[in-house]
C-alpha cells in the first residue's frame, strides 16, 4: 500500500508529543501521553466518554494549555511559540474538524464564504480565485456547485460536516485534528463521509489525529491506535493488531462491547 511506503520513506516524525499532562484542578484530564506521528499517518484515539481523548486533542491543537509535557511540530516547539505564530499554524498547516459542524462553520455565511475564509485569512485578495477554489473544494466533498451561495443552515447534517472538511482542507494543511467527525450522523451518511475522508487522506498525504469512540471508524481510517482510559494511554499499536488481539483488560472490554450485526 502506498501510504505504508510513504510512512517508511520518512523517518522524522511530523508531530512529537512527550509526557503531555493536563489537569482540571485535582482531576486528571490526560496524563503522561507520548507518541510520534509521521507524515501521512493516521492515528486513532479511542476510549470511553471522560477518558481524556478530547482534552488531549484540544491540548494538541492549542485550544488548551497543558501543564507539563512537550509538543514538537516539524521540529518547532509548539508550546513555546507565540500565540500569533500558533494561530497562524492553526489556519495554514493545521486543521481542526469539530464534532458538531456548527462549532466549525460560520452559520450566517454562505458555503463559498466558509470555504474561502481560510484563504482570505492567509492573504488571498482575488475574488475570482477564491470563488474558483471554493467551487473546486465543494466538488471534492460532493456538494453541488449550485449550493455555493447557500448558508450552511440550509444543509443537511452530513453536508454540513463535509463543508466543514472542505473549509479546513482548502489551505492544504499537513496535519488534521478530528474530533468525532462522524458523530451524530446516520450510518449510511457516516459510511459516505468515511469513504470521502479516506480518499482525501490518501490523496493529499495528510497526517491525522482522529478522536472517536466508534471502533469501526478507526478500523477504516487509522493506521495506528491509542486506547485511553482515565486520562492515560493503556494500550497502543497498529490498529488491526490492537483490535484483533487486545492485550489490556479495558481494550478487551471495548472490543467485545461492539455489537455484531
Amino acid at each position: 500500500m502506498s501510504h505504508i511506503e510513504k510512512v517508511t520513506a520518512t523517518d522524522t516524525p511530523l508531530l512529537t508529543v512527550a509526557g503531555l499532562t493536563k489537569t482540571y484542578g485535582a482531576r486528571i484530564g490526560c496524563a503522561d501521553v507520548s507518541f510520534d506521528l509521521y507524515p501521512g499517518e493516521v492515528l486513532g484515539i479511542v476510549g470511553e466518554s471522560g477518558s481524556g481523548k478530547s482534552t488531549l486533542l484540544s491540548c494538541l491543537a492549542g485550544h488548551q494549555r497543558p501543564e507539563r509535557g512537550r509538543i514538537a511540530y516539524d521540529g518547532q516547539d509548539v508550546l513555546a511559540m507565540s500565540e500569533s505564530a500558533r494561530r497562524r499554524l492553526g489556519r495554514t498547516d493545521w486543521a481542526y474538524v469539530h464534532q458538531n459542524p456548527r462549532d466549525g462553520l460560520r452559520m450566517g455565511v454562505s458555503a463559498g464564504g466558509n470555504v474561502g475564509e481560510r484563504l482570505m485569512a492567509v492573504g488571498a485578495r482575488h475574488y475570482g480565485d477564491i470563488r474558483a477554489a471554493a467551487t473546486d473544494w465543494l466538488g471534492l466533498v460532493e456538494i453541488a456547485a449550485d449550493r455555493i451561495d447557500d448558508r450552511p443552515r440550509a444543509f443537511s447534517g452530513g453536508m454540513q460536516q463535509r463543508l466543514q472538511i472542505a473549509r479546513n482542507l482548502v489551505t492544504g494543511p499537513r496535519l488534521v485534528f478530528m474530533d468525532e467527525p462522524t458523530g451524530g450522523l446516520d450510518v449510511s451518511v457516516q459510511a459516505r463521509l468515511l469513504d470521502l475522508l479516506r480518499g482525501l487522506v490518501r490523496d493529499l498525504g495528510l497526517s491525522v489525529v482522529i478522536v472517536t469512540h466508534d471502533l469501526a471508524v478507526v478500523r477504516l481510517l487509522a493506521h495506528r491506535l491509542m486506547v485511553m482510559q482515565g486520562g492515560r494511554v493503556v494500550e497502543q499499536g497498529l490498529t488491526d493488531q490492537v483490535l484483533d488481539d487486545p492485550q489490556h483488560a479495558y481494550t478487551q472490554l471495548l472490543v467485545s462491547s461492539v455489537l455484531q450485526v
Partner: protein, 296 residues
C-alpha cells in the same frame, strides 16, 4: 450666531473636569495608536444613546472657550440632532457656533465628512454607533479583540466576499471598513463610502466616539487610510449619478428627496453648508429659484 454666556449651573462643556481628563487620556492614546479602539468610562449624557453621546463626550473633552463649533447631522446643520447638540454646547460652554466648515475649529458630525476640505488645526468628531467592524461576523468581544491584537483580518474580507456573492458587487455602501496605517481595521462610522477617501491624509484630527459601546478611536493628521477591497473588485467611492438640483454641484454627495406622490424627486447636496455657499456664489441647479432682479 454668537450666544449668551454659559449657564452658571454647569461646569464648562457640561462634563466635570475629572471626566474630561479621563476622556482626553483615551483620546491621546487613540491618537498614539491610530485605529485602535480605546475603552473609556462613558458617562450618562442628557440625551439618549444613539443620539451621539460618544461624540458629545469627545467634543466636551476637546472644547476650549476660544473654539468655534459646527455640528452636522447627515451633512445638514439644521436637523434636530445637529441643532440640539449645537445649542447644548452654546448653553453649557458658551462657545461660538457656526455653520461654515471653513470657520469651524471643531466639527461634530453624524455620518458625513464635509465637502469643503478640512485644514490643519481643525478637529472632526464622529458619532459612532458600533465601533467594532468585525462585530456582525464575530459576536464575541474577546475574540474580536484577539483578532485585532494578532492582526487577523481575513474575516473582514469574508463580509465583502458575501456581498459580491449575493449582489455581484461590494454592496456595503456605508460604514465601509478601512485599514489604518497598515495595521488596524477600523469602522469609519456610518459615513457613506463616498467619504472614505477623505479619511486618508486629512490635515485635520479625526476623533471617533462611541458612547454606548464605550470606545474612542482616532486618526491623527495625515494618516494613511485604505478601504478594503478585492483585486478584481476594487473599492469605488460611489454616489448618486445626478447633479445637485439647487447648486448644480457634480462631485458632492447627494440626498434624494421625494417631492410629491407622482414620482417627483430631486437630488440635493447632503452638505447644506457647501450647497448654500455655492448658491451664494451664483451657482444654480435645475430647480433653483429664478435669480431675482439684478443679483446676478
Amino acid at each position: 450666531m454668537n450666544d449668551a454666556t454659559p449657564e452658571p449651573a454647569y461646569n464648562f462643556a457640561y462634563l466635570d473636569e475629572q471626566t474630561k481628563r479621563m476622556i482626553r487620556r483615551a483620546i491621546l492614546k487613540g491618537i498614539a495608536v491610530p485605529g485602535y479602539q480605546v475603552p473609556f468610562a462613558s458617562r450618562e449624557m442628557p440625551m439618549p444613546y444613539g443620539w451621539g453621546t460618544g461624540g458629545v463626550q469627545v467634543t466636551a473633552a476637546c472644547l476650549v472657550p476660544e473654539d468655534r463649533l459646527k455640528v452636522i447631522d447627515q451633512g445638514a446643520d439644521d436637523t434636530t440632532n445637529a441643532v440640539s447638540i449645537r445649542r447644548f454646547f452654546a448653553r453649557t460652554a458658551g462657545v461660538a457656533t457656526t455653520t461654515r466648515t471653513a470657520d469651524a475649529t471643531l466639527i461634530q458630525t453624524r455620518h458625513r465628512i464635509p465637502e469643503t476640505p478640512l485644514h490643519a488645526g481643525q478637529i472632526l468628531v464622529y458619532q459612532v454607533p458600533i465601533p467594532e467592524p468585525l462585530r456582525f461576523l464575530e459576536p464575541r468581544e474577546t475574540e474580536t479583540r484577539k483578532m485585532h491584537e494578532l492582526e487577523e483580518y481575513g474575516l473582514m474580507h469574508v463580509k465583502l466576499y458575501e456581498d459580491i456573492a449575493r449582489h455581484g458587487q461590494i454592496a456595503t455602501s456605508y460604514a465601509y471598513p478601512v485599514k489604518v496605517s497598515g495595521r488596524y481595521v477600523m469602522d469609519p462610522s456610518p459615513i457613506p463610502k463616498f467619504d472614505n477617501p477623505k479619511l486618508s491624509d486629512s490635515p485635520a484630527i479625526q476623533l471617533f466616539g462611541a458612547g454606548r459601546e464605550q470606545r474612542i478611536y482616532a486618526l491623527p493628521p495625515y494618516t494613511k487610510v485604505v478601504s478594503l477591497d478585492f483585486d478584481d473588485h476594487p473599492f469605488t467611492a460611489s454616489k448618486a449619478a445626478h447633479v445637485c438640483d439647487l447648486c448644480g454641484a457634480r462631485a458632492s454627495y447627494l440626498d434624494e428627496v421625494i417631492t410629491d406622490d407622482l414620482g417627483g424627486r430631486m437630488f440635493v447636496c447632503s452638505d447644506t453648508d457647501f450647497c448654500t455657499d455655492r448658491q451664494a456664489h451664483g451657482k444654480r441647479g435645475r430647480l433653483s429659484a429664478p435669480i431675482s432682479g439684478g443679483a446676478a
